[in-house]
């Protein structure tokens, strides 16, 4: 299976994983191991035989390495999603890896960078529902070689109240079963649109950077952000800035120079989406 710029061979005997993959990755191609270079082997399984009956758990292994402590079996699918994010963010060092959502329209990318809990993934889901192409809700991979964004198109991760908000967008949206009591609260994943999955090879050039901030009852506040501030804030969202050091800083500078940066506070999609459309038309 494709996982960002890598190919991953996934192995699991757990029914939760089989169900999650069938539901969320329905449109992903199953690659033939005979003619695919496998970058990583990922396995999700029970830690040991004893544990199978008493408080059953799931353990994730990547090439024999164990990036996280085992979690309750019910959280096997969210753990796989976090594990695949870890695979990308800890190895794709030929890219600047930003903790940001990214969507595309007309070959150009809109990047949404924000701290967890700011409504980034929810807004991403709404934009995708409104016709933008999903590149990622979590990891923006900016190529160090040419500055384009590499699509990932994996499921969108939704937390707590945002699960019902996204479910309310349209009855056709496919959401996984909600997993309660995880480290991030209640979690569910949204199946990526088929068109986004099929367009996984089409990279996009970054055009706009938005720092969204959801606040219940907030009035729409939308203002352009200066490059220096945008650069500083984006540095905080770069997963591999310390690994890339000077090269990463240069890439961040080039990224910020190539986009229009904006900061938007909002309380509803009705406020923020028309505002994004308006800004997008201005830069077109």
């Amino acid at each position: 299976m494709r996982c960002g710029s890598f190919n991953v061979c996934l192995r699991s005997g757990l029914p939760q994983i089989a169900a999650g993959i069938t539901q969320l990755y329905r449109d992903f191609a199953v690659l033939d191991p005979a003619d695919t270079y496998v970058d990583f082997e990922v396995e999700v399984r029970a830690p040991n035989a004893m544990r199978r009956h008493l408080r059953p758990q799931a353990l994730l292994l990547c090439d024999g390495r164990i990036p996280f402590k085992p979690l309750p079996l019910a959280q096997a699918m969210p753990m796989l999603e976090w594990g695949l994010n870890w695979v990308i963010s800890s190895h794709a060092h030929d890219c600047l890896v930003l903790h940001a959502a990214v969507v595309e329209r007309g070959g150009r990318a809109l990047v949404l960078a924000a701290d967890p809990g700011s409504g980034k993934s929810t807004l991403c889901a709404a934009l995708v529902h409104g016709g933008w192409r999903l590149l990622s809700d979590e990891l923006t991979l900016v190529s160090l070689a040419d500055g384009t964004v590499h699509p990932i198109a994996r499921p969108i991760s939704l937390k707590n109240a945002s699960i019902e908000v996204v479910r309310g967008l349209e009855p056709d949206i496919v959401l996984s079963e909600v997993c309660h009591d995880t480290a991030k609260g209640s979690v569910a994943h949204m199946r990526p649109p088929r068109a986004s999955v099929l367009a996984m090879d089409q990279r996009a050039r970054p055009a706009m950077l938005v720092f969204p901030r959801y606040g219940a009852g907030a009035a729409l506040d939308s203002r352009a952000e200066g490059r220096a501030h945008a650069l500083l804030e984006l540095t905080r969202h770069a997963f591999n800035a310390s690994v890339l050091a000077g090269e990463g800083f240069d890439a961040l500078c080039r990224f910020v120079e190539g986009v229009h940066a904006h900061r938007i506070s909002y309380a509803s999609f009705d406020q923020v989406i028309p505002e994004i459309d308006r800004l997008w038309r201005e830069i077109e």
């Binding site: 090439d63 390495r65 890339l244």
Partner: protein, 359 residues
């Protein structure tokens, strides 16, 4: 997943004979990349393949991983130099000798053993009497003990050869401050004053720091591996191979090594190190050196057990090289390392604490 380990020596054989990659299938390259990542030897593999002009044999995807490993290693090297400058600034006013150990020493010496190395921590050694001042200066420079329990604190302070690891409050880098090279509880107590007396000052940029004498550096590296656990066994052995290949060009090195090992009562770990280097990386060791060391290296374990143990424990921690036997060997090594480090009553206490009190 309990498959038989398919290619237990793929990585070490390729490091020893890079030309063997001609004719590798794609699956061999996949395993090679996984094994070298697990063993923390990917950047070293990259430079071996590149030096032998066979890097272009690799599929593009494998070349990408190897190239990235090399970039990360370069970044590690510059981060270590940055940390060393900070440590020099913090410790220079004290006027006490500061010895760099292991990776940090190889890096400051620009030794081939430093090439491609990934640094998990920086090890240094200072005289025990200077520890309070050194710790205070390090606190002011931002180094604080990583969270430890009262038991851990006592374990390190009373029984070990180092203080609890320090972590930099901003950068998260880890510093191990030693006062000797072996846990005093192991019963073998090299005199730290002697190690300092034999040590050499570095030249040029790093002249503030000292490093162990070549013989002591090899002995310390051997002890670190063969008294410890083998999580990074192949990498540590690769370091030893690089050290031996370089130092053995100095006239009289082998004789001095045997003499020093005998004097410090560390003939056994040195003999183990030389034999395993020969077996895994084809390191050239004169036959007489092994014979002489055998005479001062007694082990209570039968020779065949030890051979089996080292063969299985010195494999990359990846399923393609690692099976049930490897896990068993690691378990045995873990027990052995504690056995070597502590007398029995202390070992019983330590194990009971870890089993029943610590979580």
């Amino acid at each position: 997943m309990t498959r038989a380990p398919a290619q237990p020596t793929l990585l070490s054989a390729t490091l020893g004979h890079p030309e063997s990659v001609r004719g590798f299938a794609r699956s061999d390259w996949e395993s090679l990349v996984w094994q070298s990542r697990a063993a923390e030897l990917m950047a070293q593999l990259h430079s071996r393949l590149s030096d032998s002009g066979v890097l272009d044999q690799a599929p593009e995807a494998a070349r990408r991983h190897l190239g990235l490993a090399s970039t990360i290693a370069t970044r590690h090297a510059s981060a270590v130099r940055h940390e060393l400058r900070g440590l020099q600034e913090a410790l220079q006013p004290l006027g006490v000798p500061v010895l760099l150990l292991k990776g940090a020493a190889y890096a400051a010496m620009s030794h081939p053993a430093a090439m491609g190395r990934i640094f998990n921590d920086i090890d240094l050694m200072v005289p025990k009497a200077a520890l309070p001042q050194v710790e205070e200066r390090l606190h002011w420079a931002g180094w604080f003990p990583a969270l430890t329990t009262a038991y851990d604190e006592r374990y390190y302070r009373e029984w070990m050869h180092e203080i609890p690891p320090l972590e930099h409050k901003n950068r998260g880098t880890v510093l191990d401050v030693h006062h000797t090279i072996l846990p005093p509880t192991s019963g073998i107590r090299p005199d730290p004053a002697d190690l300092f007396a034999q040590s050499t000052a570095l030249a040029g940029e790093w002249s503030f720091f000292r490093v162990l004498a070549p013989t002591d550096m090899v002995i310390h590296s051997a002890c670190h591996l063969f008294f410890g656990e083998f999580h990074k066994g192949l990498r540590d052995l690769f370091d030893l191979d690089a050290l031996l290949s370089d130092f053995s060009r100095q006239p009289g090195f082998w004789r001095a090594l045997v003499e020093r090992a005998r004097q410090l009562q560390l003939g056994l770990p040195v003999l183990d190190a030389l034999q395993q280097c020969q077996r895994v990386y084809n390191t050239t060791v004169p036959e007489s050196v092994g014979d002489e060391l055998s005479r001062c290296a007694a082990s209570s374990w039968p020779r065949s057990w030890r051979a089996w143990l080292f063969d299985h424990a010195l494999r990359p921690a990846h399923a393609s090289a690692f099976g049930r036997s490897t896990r068993l060997a690691h378990g045995a090594i873990f027990v052995r390392s504690h056995w070597l480090r502590m007398p029995l009553p202390l070992l019983v206490r330590h194990v009971s604490h870890k089993l029943f009190v610590a979580d």
